[in-house]
Structures are given as C-alpha cells and as structure tokens.
Assembly symmetry: C2
Homo-oligomer: 325 residues x 2
C-alpha cells in the first residue's frame, strides 16, 4: 500500500500521518511507502520499514504534480489548500492553489493513467445562506466565499474525473474541525476552536460573533476517521454522487460555551471575551448551520454526538488528558 | 448601449443578433455598438448607424479575451461553447473551451474593471439523475457529462465573480432548444429537434431513444427572450443566487410526436424511424426531466406552454409559415 498526502504539514495532514504510522496499514494492506507533500517542509513520521519521502513545493507550480505520482500511489489524500479567510483576502492565491493546484493534481493523475483512490477534503463552505432548518444531502451548493466556490469547482471535477474512470474519487465535505490544536490560523472559523482551546490553556479568547450562531463541528480525530473511511469505502456502494457531507455536532456558540463550563468549569469559560468583528461576521453569517448528512451516516461515516465529547477529545489528544490550573 | 456576443455564429447567437437588429435597443437604450466573436466568422447584421465589429478567433487562446473588451461593452452575452456530445467525445476540447475559455473571459472582465452585465448560457445538463418527479430550484447539480460539469463550474465562477463585484452576472440554464433550425449538430440532444424538423421538411428522421423519454424544451424564440430578459433584469431583484433554471415545456418524445401529428398530420409524423442508439441513450437517460423553475417564472422569464406552440414557432420562423407537401 503506497500512500500520497498533499498538505502533509497541515493540521489534518499531521493527524492523518500519525494515525497511519500507528495503524501501519490501510485498506487491509501494510503501508510500504508514504509520500508527503506540502509547501512547508513536512515532518517524517517514525515508520520503520516504510519508504517515507518528503516533497516540499508549490502544488500549483507547473510540473509539480507529475513527479509526485512516479511511485503510483494506491491512495491519494489531497488536503493541500488555502483556508477560507486567506482565500477571501487573496483572490489570486486562493484560485491558484485551491482550484488550479487541485486541477493540476487531478490532471496529473488522469495522464498517469493508473486510477488510484483519491480522497479530497472539501468543505461545508460549498453551501451558502439562506438555508432550510436542516440542510438535506441534495441541497444546492451556492457558496458565499471564493474558498467555497473553489471547493465546489473541485468537487465537480472530482465527480467528472471519477465518472470517466481517471481516478476513484471521494470528496468529503468536512464540517468545521474543532478543537483545532496549535496556534490560531487565518480561517474565518478560527474562533470556534479559539474559544475552547485558549481558555483550556488558561488564556483569554475572543468571540467575534453572537452566541446564537449555529454551526456544525467534528473533532480532528473524526476528520481522520472520515479520511480513513473514505480511503477504504467501496466506491460501487457510494455510486456516482461522490461528494458527501460529513456528519457532525450542530451547536450554537452559546451551547459550545455551556459544554466548556460542564467539562472544565465556569472559571475556564469566563476567559471568553465578546468582541464583535464585522468582517468575520459577514463571512460566518452566510455559513451553513445544521446538516442532515443522511448519506454519509448510512455509508458508515461517524462523528461525535455531543460538543462535550469534542472538548474531551481535545483534552485527551492535546492536553495529555489534563486540565490546566 | 454597447453589446458583446461570444458564440455569435452559433444558432442562438444568430437568433439573438437578428432580434437586437430588429429591436435596435437594449435596456431602454439605443444600441450603438455590437461586437461579435466566434471561432467561425460571424455574419454582420444590417444595422445602419451601429458600429458592428467582427472578431474571429479561439476564445480560449491566450490573450484572446482582453481585446474583446477594449470598447467596454455594457452587456456581454457569453454563448460560445462546445456542445454536449462533442465535449463528451473530446475531453480536452470541452474543458479548454467551456471551462478555460469562460474563465479567461471572466478574468479579462475582472481585470478590465468596468463590471458590465454578463449573461451566460448554462444548461439543464448541470443536473444528473436520479431526480425527484419535479426538480426544484434548490436541487443539487450532479452532472453526468463533462459538458454539464463545465457549465456547473462556470456557474460557480459567475456567482463568485458577481458576489465580488467583478461583473453583474446572470446564468441562465437553458432547457433543450427545440426545434433547432438548420443541419443536425453534434449535441446528443439533436434528435429532439430532428424528429420534428426533418419530417416537417419532408425527410425521414431517426429516433435513437424510447418514446417514454421525458424532457424539457423551449423554442429558439424563447431562448432569445430569456437572453434579453436576463440582460435587462434588475440584479438586486435576482439576489445572490445568479444561476436560474429557465422555464420550458416538459413532454415525452411520444407527446412530441403526437403534437407533430396534431400540427402537421400523421403522414408527417410517419417519417420518424425508431433506431435505438446506445451511446445517445447512455447520455440522455442521465438527463433531467421536469423542472419547477419557480424562481425564473417569478422573475418574469417565460416560455411556451405546449409543444404544439413550439412546433408552430418553428413553422413561422423557419418555414415561412408554410407546411411542406
Ligand atoms: N480544518 C477545518 O476546519 C476544515 C474544514 C473544512 C475543510 N478543510 C479542508 O481540509 C484540508 C486540510 O485542512 P487543515 O485544517 O489541515 O488546513 P491547514 O491549513 O492546516 O493545512 C493545509 C496545508 O496545505 C498547505 N498548502 C498551502 N498551499 C499549498 C501549495 N501551494 N502547495 C502545497 N501545499 C500547500 C499548507 O502549507 C498547509 O500545510 C484543507 O483542504 C481544508 O480546506 C478543513
Ligand atoms: N441549443 C441548446 O439546446 C442549448 C441548451 C443549453 C445550453 N446551450 C448553450 O447555449 C449556448 C449557445 O448554444 P447554440 O445552440 O447556439 O450552440 P452552437 O454550437 O450553435 O453555438 C456555439 C458557438 O460557439 C462557437 N465556439 C466554439 N468554440 C469556440 C471557441 N473556442 N472560441 C469561440 N467560439 C467558439 C461555435 O463556433 C458556435 O458558433 C452554448 O453555450 C450552449 O452550450 C444551448
């Protein structure tokens, strides 16, 4: 089993690599080679007996993708991308990486002709307001950001390239991955994690939107579970509609804060400071709220069932199971 | 009023030009300039006092689009494209013209910075089976052809570029335009017109699919009405969802043939010969059937209400109001 990961230095990429290193196998076959690509140098995991290669470069640069395929990976995880806030602020960069980079990778796979399984991380940002109360699987994508547009266009390519047999693609629309570990990034969704992560580390956090904002979340653990399941699922069972809305926990920001109080106490939750930000609010208010995610659940994709669970996953995975203070 | 038309030598383009020549105005303003572009030399209409320029070239060639914008058209009709059958047979050509050509035009408009109204002819081929009985406006596009994928991706760009203020776009998803005049083209939908047009001209026509096939049609006249309305409609009323499914007449092939018998007699309808074609059937069976088209009707887009009317429009516009024989 040979695996290629783009965006390997990113948050989800690093979690996925750690999981593959632990499992040592994918689709019931021992992992023999791991190719890791990112524009930032990716870190090599300790995987004795596995041929790990590190590639550093711009996926959207001419010719960058073909060389990644020389070893004919059985499974490709395409995670590289520019996050929503940055893709909105920098029009050219977003289209170049998220659309042209993705298309370059897809075309390199097409021209290489060996039709691997290709898992692509799309986003619920393909949807845009106004929404019904529960967004059904067959609701139309009308993104309200360039990031969402780029993901939507990539999904369309993935479906067509799969239909034509160029590869065997599965697009997974991730909900917001929360609690995101590490430093804040430029995603407009950053505060959803910040208001949990910073207080748990004894630090103040800014809440830029109203507490009534309803949003869907899944933990980094669940994101990795989705990816592994997407790599292993039988394509024939999925059928021609290859872009799947992942399950998650739909809660308001107020409910997130209540969960934090339950799990870590009200002194921790008091570290959240409300400071409205119109730019973030303008983006977030067009975002989807609650999904049915019927197809993905039926296909065996599973996430947490409460936000308390999401907070506990963070405490276990990132804080050595210890609360500060 | 300065108008630019791409695909000006095509069927819809020529009908639109004839209509603009007759009206002499658009959006309540006298047409002063008409720029016509196509890869096939477009014909200049007789429009005294109007500055008509003809451009022949490949829209997808580097730099081709910028020169078309030198005169800063107030309204752009983007009709150029490769039809469904050809885009399916020729992967590279379809993506190059329908996606890259469209993106090149959109980017040239973006960089020129004068934000004109831009009307784009999308297609109901953005939808793919399985379908509910009536396809609602908020049904997800899951095209089953590369042509449909290219139209879907262009729609996504149009919405994002409009949201960003680069232009003021309206995407109109045309149903099958029927009766298509002239010679058969390479569209997989060609037979829908052929079974009416050829018998009316005293010639045999091939029916490659079962009579039970249900499909939505509008006349070339209606297509032009849609385009004019899309050029004139108030963008604020349309709102952010800029891609609209046009109304049409939903009939089975059997009902088309019954209408032909009613309008032209059973001797004419007898000229249709059934000869199943698996390739065409494979494409057509994934096509959409009946649309709600609620938004477009509410926004004032109107089509015929019976297939008899569609046949009569053809007899009036193409056969000098005379039946053969
Ligand atoms: N984290 C979330 O909440 C979330 C939600 C929905 C979708 N996603 C998608 O999941 C994927 C992974 O998300 P993440 O949270 O790990 O993001 P991340 O920003 O942590 O990782 C993305 C990686 O892509 C790399 N990258 C950027 N430009 C590149 C280029 N030109 N060439 C090569 N690599 C480049 C970055 O260096 C980064 O390491 C992304 O595609 C993201 O859009 C994430
Ligand atoms: N006719 C229909 O039933 C129907 C249905 C849905 C959508 N549409 C869309 O409406 C538009 C017009 O349709 P039509 O029936 O007039 O099609 P058509 O084929 O008659 O016209 C398309 C024109 O585009 C031109 N063209 C092709 N490649 C080009 C290139 N590289 N550069 C410049 N021009 C190029 C062709 O020469 C042709 O004149 C197309 O975009 C089509 O996809 C048509």
């Amino acid at each position: 089993m040979r695996v290629l990961i783009t965006g390997a230095a990113g948050m989800v990429g690093r979690k996925l690599i750690a999981r593959l290193a632990k499992d040592g196998q994918l689709r019931g076959r021992k992992i023999s080679a791991l190719e890791l690509h990112d524009i930032v140098a990716p870190e090599a995991p300790a995987m004795p007996g596995v041929d790990v290669s590190l590639h550093t470069g711009d996926l959207a640069a001419p010719g960058a993708t073909a060389s990644l395929l020389a070893a004919r990976p059985d499974v490709i995880f395409h995670l590289a991308g520019i996050v929503s806030g940055e893709a909105e602020a920098n029009f050219d960069l977003g289209y170049r990486v998220n659309l042209d980079g993705t298309r370059a990778l897809f075309d390199a796979v097409r021209l290489a002709g060996f039709a691997p399984r290709l898992v692509f991380t799309s986003s619920i940002a393909v949807f845009g307001a106004p929404f019904p109360d529960v967004i059904p699987d067959d609701f139309h994508p009308t993104p309200l950001t360039s990031y969402g547009t780029q993901k939507q266009m990539s999904e369309a390519l993935l479906a067509d390239y799969t239909r034509r047999g160029f590869f065997d693609g599965i697009g997974i629309r991730l909900p917001t991955i929360c609690v995101r570990p590490g430093k804040p990034n430029k995603a407009a969704s950053g505060f959803f994690s910040g208001i949990i992560r910073e207080p748990l580390a004894g630090q103040e956090a800014i809440l830029p939107v109203p507490r009534s904002v309803l949003h869907t979340h899944a933990s980094p653990r669940s994101a990795v579970n989705f990816l592994i399941h997407a790599a292993e699922i039988d394509g024939a069972v999925v059928g021609p509609r290859r872009n799947l809305t992942m399950p998650g926990v739909a809660v308001t920001v107020g409910e997130q804060i209540e969960a934090l109080e339950r799990v870590a106490g009200s002194n921790v939750a008091k570290l959240i400071r409300e400071q409205p930000d119109d730019t973030i609010w303008a983006i977030v208010k067009g975002w989807p709220t609650r999904f049915e995610a019927k197809r993905s659940r039926e296909l065996g994709f599973a996430a947490e069932t409460s936000f308390d669970e999401i907070i506990r996953a963070h405490i276990e995975d990132e804080l050595d199971n210890k609360l500060a203070g």
